[in-house]
């Protein structure tokens, strides 16, 4: 049973419970409109939701009841005994079906014709009904059977009398809920879940945020004291688990909002004369409730846009040689710490040239800039407020009404909107939503004598340029600093010069330079900082309006050492420094798209050095590179392990790095944390050398592809066999002989 159905069941059951209360009260106060309204609401809610879920039987029955209740609510009918009885029968009927849904996930077979007919029968005012019935009501207390009405309700006749006997509960009459009193064998959905006020969850989230801060401080304070290590580790783990649990409690599947789309699509296609097939994928992807709420409107807007301006009418599509039925695809999936929601259509696409012309005409960009801007940058213009509302654009480019609203809403929650479009092929709008608002992983960097937090999401790699090398490594084109990253020029932004334009800055050659290579919306640049500190999970605190206006900071946070740090916004820094989206990036993407799998064949490897010899680790599998003192390596028996973020990481040491460093607990070693299947393993190395593309090697004569080695920088280099790292004991017996790692061939 899916989440939506379960929620519907809980809601409906609660609604029916309320309805039962109200019905019994109604018998005493038939004129009470508040009671009637409450009953009407319960039935109406059920009817409304069943439409989405496709429970036709339930919908039909609820509809019949709603009609009757409508008349009662409007005062056209008085809530007489037979009516209340009828409504109670309706209640039981609804409950019966709900129960069937809960056990069998479908409504089950069964006719409600009798009950529906009764609802209709009751809508006729009493005075117009057969005299026998009135008589029967007058003789209410007598268990008279002779007052049988002549209509189709015949088999239900004894019911009205019974219901009006004070203190006696009405008996179910319909066949469907045959055993209402049967003890429930298992906990129902209503019993195993609890509804919690969102405000309380928010408060819990805030408190957990505070706890994370305190934990960070405790960890830093106790790092030196071995007596407290165990305690602080425990605190660390419990905090992490608690945080996860609280975050989980706030998660809801995106199906909650996707499920509203078929209806919108159906209505819109009918009114717009389109033929559209709606495909939905990844409905089970979960997102924080507040974020889900926040993307509801942008998503609806994007769907409307795709139908209105993206997908053409059937005859236009036929003329263009396309399937007359367009496809609208909604897809949600998780990628790292983000959830991506894609809305793609196979419609007309956006003509970039027209955007360029319009943008110049309307004075959004100069002719010179327009000529230099890439297609991707020009596409972004449809998000500019004012631009999008221009009628001409809407007609020619086929997209744009209110796109600025979509972007504003998504950016307000720290998300991003990306758009890709090909004329004649269609448009894809991608909403990139952070998993959570409150806590993000960040790298702490130092500049202008202060700490700043740099969100890990935008960070792709770090490069260290020692003072001696700065003069040659950083190249200048007039006043634009550049760095050659694997043969390509990377624009550099000096954080200190950006933050203190008038201050005195030391020359790059006089200090350590750390380049954080960032990718902000396709703007790739290197941010040069003075120093790096540890990565931390930071709790994002909002800034006051006056500081938000500076535009470079997305918030502030309290670090483990109780210092405050401003959170840098990589996108804003790129814009401020004038970094544009690189054309190279774009062609790179295009090639990847065209060539598809072909381009992926030459893998990138991390080149490492372990005790004098070189080895390669597939870059895709590398999660992090950690520099740690040898003392942090612990042993289970003879097997080295690392307590890494509260989890044990088996460390592979076939290179003999640990053995070589033995006896010097303060010696720094490097552990490359890799993904292997669904577990993580660490590889101990002395240095990380570079990242290089590896080529396949073929055996001479047989031309068989060799396994476990690759050609890196003209050297045959062995690839570390991650799968060969044995699992830690516990789950399965530790293999007696372990540590067969591919030998290193230089």
């Amino acid at each position: 049973m899916d989440e939506l159905t379960r929620e519907f069941l809980i809601e409906s059951q609660e609604g029916l419970d309320r309805m039962e209360h109200c019905l019994t009260d109604l018998e005493e106060r038939p004129q009470d409109t508040a009671l009637l309204a409450e009953i009407f609401r319960s039935v109406h809610t059920i009817k409304g939701t069943t439409g989405f879920l496709g429970f036709k039987r339930l919908e039909k029955l609820a509809h019949a009841g709603e009609n009757l209740l409508g008349l009662l609510r409007e005062g056209k009918l008085r809530a007489t005994g037979p009516i209340v009885t009828g409504l109670l029968e309706l209640l039981d009927g609804l409950r019966g079906i709900l129960k069937t849904i809960e056990t069998d996930s479908n409504e089950g077979e069964g006719g409600d014709g009798v009950l529906i007919a009764r609802m209709e029968e009751l809508q006729v005012p009493a005075v117009m009904r057969a005299p026998q019935l009135i008589e029967a009501r007058l003789k209410a207390t007598a268990p008279a059977v002779e007052a049988t009405p002549t209509t189709s309700v015949a088999p239900l006749t004894p019911e009205p009398m019974q219901a009006m006997e004070p203190g006696k509960a009405p008996q179910p009459v319909v066949d469907a809920p045959a055993e209402p009193a049967r003890p429930r064998a298992q906990a129902t959905a209503a019993e195993s879940t609890l509804r919690v006020d969102v405000a309380l969850l928010n408060r819990m989230m805030n408190l957990v945020g505070e706890l994370v801060l305190t934990r960070n401080q405790v960890l830093q304070a106790t790092a030196a004291d071995p007596n407290l290590t165990m305690l602080s580790r425990r605190l660390d783990m419990v905090t992490a688990d608690l945080r996860e649990a609280v975050m989980k409690a706030r998660m809801q599947p995106v199906s909650n909002i996707f499920s509203k789309m078929p209806r919108i699509v159906r209505d819109l296609t009918q009114s717009l004369g389109r033929r559209v097939r709606l495909q939905m994928e990844g409905q089970e992807t979960e997102l924080d409730k507040s974020l889900l709420e926040a993307i509801k409107d942008p998503l609806t807007h994007a769907v409307r846009n795709a139908l209105d301006h993206g997908i053409e009418t059937p005859d236009v599509r036929l003329a263009a040689g396309k399937d007359p039925e367009g496809t609208l695809k909604l897809r949600a999936y998780q990628e790292g710490s983000h959830v991506l929601v894609e809305i793609s259509d196979d419609g007309a696409g956006i003509a970039v040239e027209k955007i360029r012309q319009k943008a110049i005409e309307r004075g959004f960009i100069t002719r010179e800039r327009a000529a230099h801007q890439s297609e991707r940058e020009l596409l972004q213009l449809i998000f500019v407020p004012g631009f999008s509302t221009a009628a001409a654009i809407t007609n020619v480019s086929g997209r744009g009404v209110g796109m600025d609203v979509v972007r504003t809403n998504v950016e307000r929650i720290g998300g991003k909107v990306e758009i890709d479009s090909k004329v004649g092929k269609g448009t894809t709008l991608r909403l990139r939503i952070p998993l959570t608002l409150a806590i993000i992983p960040a790298l702490i960097v130092r500049s202008v004598g202060q700490s700043f937090a740099l969100p890990q999401g935008a960070l792709s790699e770090l490069v260290h340029i020692p003072p001696g090398q700065a003069a040659t490594a950083i190249e200048w084109m007039e006043n634009a600093p550049l760095y050659r990253l694997r043969g390509k020029l990377l624009p550099l932004v000096f954080l200190d010069r950006l933050l203190e334009p008038s201050g005195k800055h030391r020359l790059a050659a006089e200090r350590d330079n750390f380049v954080a290579v960032l990718d902000a919306d396709g703007r790739r640049f290197g941010l040069v900082v003075d120093g790096l500190a540890d990565p931390e999970e930071i709790v994002v605190k909002p800034l006051s309006g006056v500081l938000k206006e500076i535009g470079l900071y997305s918030g502030a946070t309290v670090l483990g050492n109780a210092d405050l740090a401003l959170i840098l916004d990589p996108g804003a820094i790129a814009l401020r420094a004038g970094v544009s989206m690189s054309a190279e990036e774009e062609t790179g993407r295009a090639v990847e798209e065209e060539a598809g799998e072909e381009a992926r064949k030459s893998l990138e490897y991390l080149l490492v050095e372990a005790a004098g010899s070189r080895a390669a680790v597939p870059l895709d599998e590398v999660l992090r590179i950690e520099q740690i003192p040898l003392s942090r390596i612990e042993y289970i028996g003879y097997r080295p392990v690392l307590n890494f973020e509260g989890q044990l990481l088996p460390v592979e040491d076939s290179g003999g790095v640990l053995a070589a460093a033995e006896g010097d607990p303060q010696k720094q070693i490097v552990v490359v944390v890799c993904r292997e299947g669904n577990r993580h393993v660490g590889i101990a190395v002395s240095h990380v050398l570079d990242v290089a593309a590896g080529g396949d090697l073929f055996e001479s004569g047989t031309a068989r592809r060799t396994d476990g080695v690759t050609l890196l920088k003209q050297h045959v280099t062995s690839v570390v066999d991650l799968g060969g790292v044995p699992a830690l004991p516990g789950a399965e017996e530790a293999p007696a002989a372990w540590s067969q790692m591919a030998e290193t061939v230089e």
């Binding site: 202060q450 605190k541 006056v546």
Partner: protein, 157 residues
């Protein structure tokens, strides 16, 4: 002194002011605006922020923007820890950075006089008159006008 005590004394024409010192001048802030006094704080500077921003401080789980009274008055900045008055204005909470916080003074509203006409425009906007104390003046500050958002808006205009 309880909150109801303020009411009573106001009826009698007496009001309570928290005195703060910046440079050699004594300033007063109505205690009703003060949420808390944080002593010896070192606010974190914010590069590129408007000059009046004294930096950020951690206050009860939130990050609070502070306004430097020295900067507002055009005095040179001072190194070393300063005291912070956490104030509540209609725009939210903010911190007011002062050299030191003194005692709470009970003053009579009869002793209050409006801003003198010779005061320059900048200070006219910040001050709300003064109370005549024995031997000195207690220059009144209007917390509403110190709100960073308002100052920021004034700066932009």
């Amino acid at each position: 002194m309880s909150a109801s005590g303020v009411e009573v004394s106001q009826e009698a024409g007496l009001v309570e002011m928290c005195s703060v010192r910046v440079g050699r001048v004594l300033y007063g802030v109505p205690i009703a605006y003060i949420l808390e006094i944080v002593g010896s704080a070192r606010p974190q500077p914010v590069p590129l922020a408007p000059a009046f921003v004294g930096g950020l401080v951690h206050y009860r789980g939130d990050v609070l923007t502070t306004v430097s009274l020295r900067q507002l008055l055009g005095l040179p900045t001072r190194d070393g820890p300063q005291d912070i008055l956490v104030l509540e204005s209609s725009g939210g909470c903010f911190g007011l950075l002062v050299d030191s916080v003194g005692e709470v003074l009970t003053v009579s509203s009869a002793e209050h006089e409006a801003n003198p006409s010779i005061l320059d425009e900048r200070n006219k906007r910040l001050f709300a008159g003064a109370y005549k104390l024995k031997g000195s003046l207690l220059v009144m500050l209007d917390p509403e006008r110190m709100d960073p958002m308002r100052l920021g808006a004034a700066l932009a205009a």
